[in-house]
Symmetry: C2
Subunit: 212 residues, 2 copies
DNA sequence: AGTTCACTCGAACGGACGTTCGAACGGGTC
DNA sequence: GACCCGTTCGAACGTCCGTTCGAGTGAACT
């Protein structure tokens, strides 16, 4: 349904305004969810008239599409650069988790939208995003596979990775930056420890008990 | 906004039809999401006229409310009964995970709706569901606290529990009962092993690589 | 036979939404 | 000054949605 590349001529100003729009849209989608979010509210958040939005994007669907695409691209690029120079598999996985968590801290709106609206897009757009998503997943999966040089069979690295993403993607549900008693880096370290060594052997260093 | 108890007289037939409606609604909500789901589609799925729905439920919101309330109640009751007679903290936690995963297998629609629409309700209804949700969370949190008699400080049992729920609640995103190569009980055992002992020490016994 | 009452329904109402249209503005080029 | 073109907008269009209304059914009771 979505033309994956707009045919319109691009100027730097055009792209700048467009990014501004995507940002505003991400905030609105994050606040109320894609379906409940109205283009009128996006236009208010972006301080652009309703019709003005359609000069930069063809549809509401396309807003979500670009948000997801940019976010997964950014995650993957961050992952690659954060692995540079690291050889120890455990450190590499910890770096990957730190990259994910930091991205969350910096772009909370967009990551929350990505996690929550994974199945909202359809057709071509869905497939395009899904491919980026799979690249990112496979990159992390590869790190998990490095971990266990072999102790028995090759063994559920896929399942383990899926569960790791569960930990990482669910945490927008409970993490509240206002009330956090742990820094994001500490949090990432604890999640890495939990994944690598489990709860009964790892040592955590903070506690919270407000939200679920 | 929601009257938490309908004032209408209840007959067994009334409650039966009502449950039938909730079930149909859960299937529709699960398929397309609460916001996109129309009462017209629910009425078709339940084979009841559109207006007929409103004889049993006051609003669309109330459908979601009852689905969530019943599901969390059922999870909590299942948890309590699955712990009976178990003393070892590791076995108790494993039983809790098995209970959660089995519920998922049996009531996939409803659990998926619960996980996905946690923040959809508002006001009284939200608070009422949130209380059940917190009870369930606290029950599992208590099991996690039993685990580590003390090795250092008391330490992040809350964070660990939140991450455990991440694993458990995210898995509707990737688990596909049609293509599963692992039984739900095996899956539960592997998730318990991952949480307790971590990936590098635990031993998995299956692999998948289709979906993310 | 008449009345009641739980139940069911087709048809409509009012509102919100995504999107489109046509006009206006403003800076650059001949 | 005339023309173009990227940009912006107010005002609308058509559609779909949640909900309501009022009439109709049939079994139970008097």
């Amino acid at each position: 349904m979505l033309p994956l590349q707009t045919a319109r001529k691009r100027t730097p100003a055009f792209d700048g305004k467009r990014l501004h729009l995507l940002d505003a849209a991400a905030r609105v989608f994050c606040a109320v969810g894609y379906d409940k979010a109205s283009m009128r509210r996006v236009s208010a958040e972006a301080r652009v008239s309703l019709a003005g939005i359609y000069h930069y994007v063809a549809s509401k669907e396309e807003l979500l599409y670009w948000i997801q695409l940019h976010t997964f691209d950014s995650l993957l690029r961050g992952l690659e650069s954060s692995l540079e120079g690291l050889a120890d598999p455990r450190q590499r996985l910890a770096a990957a988790i730190r990259n994910h968590v930091r991205h969350f801290g910096e772009n909370m709106h967009k990551l929350k939208v990505c996690a929550r609206e994974l199945e909202t897009l359809e057709g071509e757009a869905y497939e395009a995003v899904r491919e980026r998503r799979r690249s990112y997943f496979e990159a992390v999966h590869a790190l998990v596979k490095e971990l266990q040089p072999r102790r028995g069979a090759p063994l559920g690295s896929w399942l383990a990775t899926a569960n790791l993403f569960g930990m990482l993607n669910w945490f927008y549900q409970w993490y509240d930056p206002e009330r956090a008693r742990v820094s994001l880096d500490d949090l990432a370290a604890q999640q890495a420890a939990l994944f690598l060594d489990g709860y009964t052997a790892s040592s955590f260093s903070a506690d919270r008990r407000d939200t679920e």
